[in-house]
Amino acid sequence: MNAFWYSVILQWKLDIRSKSLLVTCYLVPLAFFLLMGGVFTSVMPQMKETLIQSMIVMGISMGAFIGLPPSLTETYGSDIKKAYQANGVPLYLGLATMFLSAFLHLMMLCIIILVLAPIIFQAVLPANLCLFFVGLAVYTVCSLSIGCVLGLTVKSQSKLTMIAQLIFLPSIILSGIMFPIDLLPNFFQTAGQFFPASWGYQLMQDQGFRLENLWYLLLVFVTAAAGCGILLKKQKSR
């Protein structure tokens, strides 16, 4: 196995050992899914149509905005990055391994939701699973790239928690996954469009995989990737 894949697998194991990622990528999203799945489907039976998509958007947003950044801050805000430099390893390797590891964890979470939701809550499976997974991957990559920018920018863990919440909470409330977006005042409907969660939720719905739902996520991803590149270059030049 080459160094890159060994690093990815090792990071995946470290993430499991690190309780924070375990909590944000599995425990809280699954607890939320079990609780809210029960509430939603009993109060609004039509939610069975979109339960999988809404719970997945919530889980990915939590894992990407709250779960991933602390690992990045731990590495790039401390002496750990010197381990890369001392061994002649490019600085982006840490980012790439953490990104991939978080991606795998979040995919596992989505599969668990996808399997359990129809069994427990009689939720409706997406009609086209292939397109659903492509949309899911796009939203996950986009969200993780925002998490990467957060982790590379904010050096203090307490500030990070606060800023991550400022992105996570509106993502959940204004994206339409908890209740139909039409119920919100116009201002909040517009504000919700700035958060990728709204677009991800649209993209993963049946017949939602269209360019008009895709372009914003791609734009956010490209911007965040460029931001990460600049931030890593800054770290290197110190």
Binding site: A3, K82, R238
Partner: protein
């Protein structure tokens, strides 16, 4: 042959000039220490030489493969020692040397995670990681800081063993006893400049042939500093005899490297 050559190294943080054009020539196979009080610039100098920090001007030439012993916060909290060893070996495309791991007791701590290791275990692990790939020049930054006596002796033995294998060791320290016990040559860094470079004996010579006479009588004890041992000792014994005191202990030494170092850094500060 020089393993490391540094000429006119300048590094500043904003308006604060930390290194003011330092020159260093470190010979292959020697143990060389960069000595200085906290804030003298030794870690910055070492990191510039190691390639971990950018510098403003000057030249640094390294002749050989380097291994760097990182500080005790440079690994993820949940990594296990053998995982770190395997990772570093993969990065360096090197084969793991089990003899070194056994000598440093890495396998004994196999089941622990990094945050569960003691300071001594972390230091040993970082030394093992620095040795992966068989470097010719090994950089150690305060290698025994925070270690107990046993850990310190064990690490000193490891460092001597590396020297006997022909490795060049460059270490930064503010521990005089360590430097005196280990190093062939030292450079004293004060206020970002090298104020001395030579052997520990030369440092002692340079600060003067000062002797310390420690005398204990049945009434008191005192230490007298002198450049002229015979005259001072003669006068001292005469005085004690006149007072009718009884000598219970008497010792003469030339002061430790630490005292000479303090004198030198004080002199520069003045």
């Amino acid at each position: 042959m020089n393993a490391v050559e540094v000429n006119g190294l300048i590094k500043s943080y904003g308006s604060n000039i930390v290194l003011k054009g330092i020159d260093l020539h470190i010979t292959s196979g020697e143990i060389f220490a960069l000595l200085g009080v906290n804030g003298a610039g030794k870690t910055t100098a070492l990191e510039c030489i190691e390639g971990l920090r950018k510098y403003d001007s000057g030249t640094i030439e390294i002749h050989g493969k380097t291994g760097i012993q990182l500080q005790s916060s440079s690994l993820p909290a949940h990594i296990k020692p053998m995982e770190a060893v395997k990772l570093f070996a993969k990065w360096n495309k090197a084969v793991i040397d089990n003899t070194t791991l056994d000598a440093l007791g890495i396998k004994e701590m196999e089941k622990l995670q990094y945050f569960q290791l003691s300071t001594g275990q972390k230091r040993r692990l970082h030394l093992a990681l620095a040795l992966i790939g068989g470097p010719d020049i090994i950089f150690l930054d305060e290698p025994t800081a925070g270690l107990d006596v046993e850990g310190r002796i064990s690490l000193h033995n490891q460092i001597r063993k590396l020297k006997s294998q022909g490795k060049t060791i460059v270490l930064a320290s503010h521990d005089m006893a360590e430097v005196e016990a280990l190093c062939d040559r030292i450079a004293v860094l004060t206020g970002g400049a090298i104020v001395f470079c030579g052997t520990p004996a030369e440092l002692t010579e340079r600060t003067g042939k000062k002797y310390l006479i420690h005398v204990k009588t049945n009434q008191d004890s005192r230490t007298i500093e002198t450049d002229n041992i015979s005259d001072t000792l003669f006068l001292l014994l005469q005085k004690i005899s006149q007072k009718g005191l009884e000598i219970t202990d008497i010792k003469v030494d030339r002061g430790t490297l630490e005292q000479h170092f303090i004198e030198m850094t004080r002199g520069v500060a003045k």
